[in-house]
Amino acid sequence: MSQPELNDEELLQRAGRRDPRAFEQLYDRLAPRLYGLLRQMLHDEREAEDVLQDSFVQLWDRAPGFDPARSKAFTWSVMIVRHKAIDRMRMLGRRNRLVESAALERSVLDADSAVAADAGQETAERTQSVLAALRELPNDQRQLIECAFLKGLTHHVIAEALNLPLGTVKTNIRRGLLRLRDLLKGGD
């Protein structure tokens, strides 16, 4: 039986009660976005699919502990996927090799290509809100956050790669994320 009317949180809760159909429906909804993120982080389709597979297995395992009052299903899933991806990068020794290239490519998050054609209105609006909030940040803060988010690098590595004082990197990331949080919560 299809469950088209259920939102992501309800599907994840059902998965937690061991409903495989709900879990597969959740996969259909979240996998493209998560896979897109993994491809940008890992720059390798096969690695990205491998990590995506591990992540969804972990999602299934941890679904019984999901609390919709504390987190949205999407953000909860993103955290799991990012952690998996960074673990994989560390395992492959790739995380710090990027520094050696001395050319930390510009990592840009842009909603223009992020909204899928079949994305719901709610997702599209939320995407625009996140982009608007990100654009509110000063350039130096936004650049560091985008770089850290998409590359999974430590602040030490970023400071070295961008030739910035470590304290500056930390301060800008702190200020930027606090501001981003306030903007996404509807603050000025």
Binding site: R18, D19, Y27, D28, A31, P32, R33, Y35, G36, L37, R39, Q40, R46, A48, E49, D50, L52, Q53, F56, V57, W60, S71, F74, T75, W76, V78, M79, R82, L109, D110, A111, S113, A114, A116, A119, T123, R126, T127, V130, L131, L134, I145, E146, A148, F149, L150, L153, T154, H155, H156, K170, T171, I173, R174, L177, L178, L180, R181, L184, K185
Partner: protein, 305 residues
């Protein structure tokens, strides 16, 4: 909040912390509720950045790989199919073999990737139109598993019904026992209520008997009593002490028998009047002829107040 912990929380949200910094943040979290809330908020805000990443469809077979991996881990009954069902259906075994092979191949390094692809193609070619068949067989397997679960459920339900019936019998027995005990208790209460004990301490106005002690306990329901005497002088030769019950409804005291003293001048004996008596008013002890008399003749030495 301390800027240092704000900084650590922000770096943590992006998973940038390592070693000592991560331990410092984890340690501070234990006792700082506000810090835990900040960490959660920053993680949420960070995760939402993923909305800005263009979605890309993963390969078609990935969902099946995930399903197979969850099954292979065991303990996931909803995804799992019973071993008996799998062994009972050859087609499903082939599909499971395909899935397992795919997982193994998928985890190999790049040098095996070409082998992986060719193996998948070879297996796919060997099982034409496998997917529709697999779906039907999977449905049948799920139906079998459902039947098995239903049978186990019905068995458990029958056991519970038996247990409930047994408990019902025990409850009935317990209720009957309670009824019996309640009736016994009521009977005992009634007996107690009906018992009319009367205790009288008799006094003597005769000089020789001033130091003597005499008491009577009278059970009106049974029509008998107990008399206790101490420090009594011996009766004269040819004489006996005789106890009398004074019933106001009778013209004369009713004899309750001769009282025999021991060597110490004491006596403790049950007595019963020779004729039924009604409302008791007094008890009296007199000195009568040896062996007692039917009607009081001698001197009264004790009388109850």
């Amino acid at each position: 909040m301390d800027e240092r912990y704000e900084e650590l929380a922000a770096l943590n949200a992006l998973r940038m912390l390592e070693g000592e910094e991560q331990r410092a943040l984890d340690g501070a979290c234990v006792s700082d509720k506000e810090l835990r809330a900040l960490i959660a908020e920053l993680e949420q805000a960070t995760a939402e950045l993923a909305l800005l990443v263009p979605p890309v469809e993963p390969s078609v077979g990935l969902k099946k790989h995930i399903r197979a991996q969850i099954r292979s881990k065991g303990g996931t009954a909803a995804f799992g199919i019973s071993r008996g069902a799998i062994l009972g259906i050859a087609g499903w075994a082939l599909a499971a073999g395909l899935a397992v092979s795919s997982i193994w191949l998928w985890n190999e390094r790049s040098k095996f990737i070409e082998r992986h692809d060719s193996a998948l193609k070879a297996i796919a070619a060997a099982i034409p139109a496998a997917d529709p068949t697999e779906e039907k067989k999977e449905t049948r397997s799920l139906e079998d598993e459902l039947k098995s679960i239903r049978a186990a459920y019905e068995k458990k339900q029958a056991e519970l019904n038996t247990e409930i019936e047994s408990l019902g019998k025990r409850e009935t027995e317990a209720k009957n026992r309670i009824t019996e005990l309640t009736a016994e208790t009521e009977a005992l209460k009634k007996q107690d209520a009906e018992a009319q004990f009367q205790i009288a301490s008799l006094q003597s106005e005769v000089w020789e008997y001033r130091r003597c002690e005499m008491a009577v306990v009278w059970d009106g329901r049974r029509g008998q009593g107990v008399i206790m005497l101490e420090k009594m002088p011996r009766a004269e030769s040819g004489k006996d002490y005789q106890l009398w019950v004074v019933d106001p409804g009778k013209p004369d005291p009713v004899s309750a028998g001769v009282i025999t003293l021991d060597d110490k001048g004491s006596a403790k004996t049950v007595f019963k009047p020779v004729a039924p008596v009604g409302q008791i008013a007094k008890f009296a002890l007199s000195i009568e002829k040896k062996g007692g008399v039917p009607k009081k003749e001698g001197q009264i030495v004790f009388i109850s107040p």
